[in-house]
Symmetry: C2
Subunit: 102 residues, 2 copies
DNA sequence: CAATGTTACGATACACGTAATCATA
DNA sequence: TATGATTACGTGTATCGTAACATTG
């Protein structure tokens, strides 16, 4: 599983439409189909039911949604943290503590 | 970024040794080096300081560790959830709600 | 020199796009 | 028949392992 798949899943759960979700993620429609299919295979069941005109979440999809949401949040805040530290000299923790106590 | 990289990072932060961490992850040592290097590139700085005899966390490494820990936890509990639903007929949520209220 | 980390490099697998096909409202 | 999802397939990139090299205690 990769992080992109999580972004794709969340986009699809918001849009309920492969076309729009794919555009939102800046990928082609078939790529989204494949990514979601791989995710479903990994989790052992369908995440969405392909219905017209809108796609519906499956029970499994509903179950994993909050987990993916939290993971996405962690990733975002982590990147923000990393960005905040960019450029600063990141000494090893031990040395940093040493410097602070001196 | 992929989930493997997170597992690798956590293993390395526990072992503080590429050799042991790689064995723990069932990959070769050079693969771990490459994976960590890619992660460091993505986050914009070193996560570890390569010292003998033990590796030390950098400030950035310390900063992202709790995020990765929480992500790993989410993944684990999500897989447990998915496993619990495996085999059960996962109707679309709408239909399931319909069935429940009838 | 023994132990540990990094480069180099080739093979396999994966992600993505384009084009063609299928399904349904 | 128009819209939207899937399948087929080619291509570039990434991941991984083996082997050779570098470093340091």
């Amino acid at each position: 599983m990769n992080m992109q798949q999580i972004r794709y899943f969340l986009a699809l759960s918001e849009e309920r439409n492969f076309r729009r979700a794919a555009r939102k993620c800046n990928i082609a429609q078939p790529s989204l189909t494949n990514a979601i299919k791989a995710l479903e295979q990994e989790l052992g069941g369908p995440l969405f039911w392909r219905k017209r005109p809108r796609i519906e979440m499956s029970t499994l999809g509903d179950a994993v949604l909050p987990h993916f949401t939290r993971i996405a949040y962690e990733l975002e805040s982590m990147h923000a943290t990393a960005k905040g530290l960019a450029g600063t000299p990141t000494f090893p923790a031990a040395e940093r503590d040493f410097m602070m106590t001196t």
